[in-house]
Amino acid sequence: MTLRGEMFMEQPSAETLKVILAGHWKLGGELPKADKVQQRLESRPGVRHLVFDTRGLADWDTGLLTFLVNVGTFCSQQNIQLNRDGLPPGAKRLLELAAAVPEKKDARKAEERVSFLIYLGNETVNFFRSAGQLLEFIGEAVIAVRRLVQGQAQYRRADLGLIIQAVSAQALPIVSLICFLVGLILAFIGAIQLQLFGAQIYVADLVGIAMVRLMAAIMTGIVMAGRTGGAFAAQLGTMQVNQEIDALKTLGISPIEFLVLPRMLALALMMPLLCLYANVMGILGGMVVGVGMLDIGFIQYYNQTAAAVGLWNLGIGLFSGTVFGVIVALAGCMRGMQCGRSASAVGDAATSAVVTAIVGIIVSTAVITILCNFLGI
């Protein structure tokens, strides 16, 4: 049996409406709506006073209070005097408490509807502003590097060690898997085409050059963007939420030197090593296809690869790797430092760190490729 609250209305005089409340006025039960009182009041415009009779009320909770608040709002709009004397004393006091601090009007965020043009304008301005922030951040990072070279940078060696471990040794399994498979896939795709000409042996050249010059660095960069860039943004973002970064600033310690510098350094140092390792894994992947499927001899494959991959290719690959490392670190740290003060802002920071890093990697690959083309290497 559901509990029911009852409401009756009577009019002792033309100016007064008496609302009689009875039964169980508890949330979850069947309760009459405040609209009924409102309809009644609208149909009798002469009513100036509202009184309550709650002698029949068995028990009540928030269900009664919300009803009374709704009635009260309507009455104050219509200038009808509300007499709370008939209410249970507890309910009366709670209502008074609820009304003690007036609603702060300007605290509520105004929900404006903006026209498309304004939206477009704002977005454009924001775009340029964020480009400015990016440059500013890079500038600060460069200054931090200068101070590092001068031996003045304030950071903890122990932190640097931990970060190096996190971005190198702990990244090996995933880098192995991805690069091995990429090498394998490249070999497969190449093999099908090259077999048509009976030139299977050139699979070794294809895989070797592609991996060493480009793919190893890009794949490692993308893995690190997802794995490490996101982690950096989340770490720094959480520190922002907890005012830990403010605490560094008020101590006069530059958060760029203390937090960003070791991360950038760790990635810049470790990415070339990871790339080197990724090269080996990629070539191994290609070799599995070459030796296993195309019947190329192991030594033959090795010699072919060694002849195809020049030192220049290796140099360009490692250089790209270093650049990608710096990009991943900068993107992660910048998004983390710009993070707002909420849990969802940390999520946004991690997402946009990964996106920024991947875009940065692709764009800089294009730049490096075009430059190499110009320089003829």
Binding site: M239, N242, Q243, E244, D246, A247, L248, K249, T250, G252
Partner: protein, 252 residues
């Protein structure tokens, strides 16, 4: 007390987040060795006022002077030098979560002093003991309670024996006895080291026990309505809002 010299002077300060003006026309002076209380309802901008005094957020209008130096008019290096002589305890503790309490307190010492590691360990031990947390050196912030995080934050703020200490609600979340001990600590630091304290607090008992100067921020008027010794304010004020605040809303 000996002669009073202005330590921090705030003149015609307006603070705002974008278009949302929190407080305008704030003018008051914090003297050397004061225990200065910032009072006001929740959300009226006390923490924001602190961030302006500490150099984290620029004021919308007006000036802050440290001694004779115009704080926000100065270049960042000067600002940094001034603020380095202060210690801050944040409302949320803001301990560095990846470091132990000992490392948290040691960081300022490692950065700005030439103490040996052994000396630093001793200082850390003392500071933790002062806030009643001896023996918690090797704990991480996540492993201790909220009130303990507050106290560890205070220990960190005191690490360098700064000239000015900013405390944002130091006793919120503490039991009455610890809160009382904290009051004693604040008074003691002022007596022995002459530290200027800027304290945001709602604890009336604390306000009257330790405060010798204060400012009251009134939300409804969007400005300060009183400044001076809180005991004197209670005795003399006619402002109903301030009376309500200082008497917990009991006499109106």
């Amino acid at each position: 007390m000996t002669e009073t010299a202005a330590h921090i002077t705030v003149r015609d300060l307006t603070m705002a987040y974008g278009d949302f003006v929190l407080m305008r026309d704030l003018t008051f002076t914090i003297n050397r060795g004061d225990i200065f209380i910032i009072m006001g309802g929740s959300g009226c901008g006390k923490s924001t006022l602190m961030t302006i005094l500490m150099g984290l957020k620029a004021p919308a209008k007006g000036k802050v002077f440290y001694g004779e130096v115009d704080f926000w008019g100065a270049d960042p290096q000067t600002r940094n030098r001034i603020i380095r002589r202060s210690g801050v305890m944040y409302q949320s503790g803001a301990l560095w979560s990846s470091m132990t309490l000992a490392e948290n307190i040691a960081l300022p010492l490692e950065t700005y002093t030439n103490l040996s590691p052994a000396q630093i360990r001793e200082v850390v031990k003392l500071k933790l003991a002062l806030v009643g947390m001896a023996g918690f050196e090797e704990f991480y912030p996540a492993e201790i309670s909220g009130g303990m995080q507050k106290r560890a934050g205070i220990a960190r703020a005191m690490a360098l024996d700064p000239e000015i200490l900013f405390f944002d609600e130091p006793s919120a979340g503490l039991d009455p006895v610890s809160a009382r001990r904290l009051d004693d600590l604040i008074l003691e630091l002022r007596e022995s080291l002459g530290t200027t304290m800027v304290v945001v607090t709602h604890e009336l008992a604390s306000i009257f026990a330790i405060g010798n100067n204060s400012v009251f921020l009134d939300v409804s008027q969007r400005t300060m309505t009183a400044t001076g010794n809180p005991n004197q304010l209670l005795a003399e004020t006619r402002d109903p809002n301030l009376r309500l605040f200082l008497t917990r809303g009991e006499q109106s």
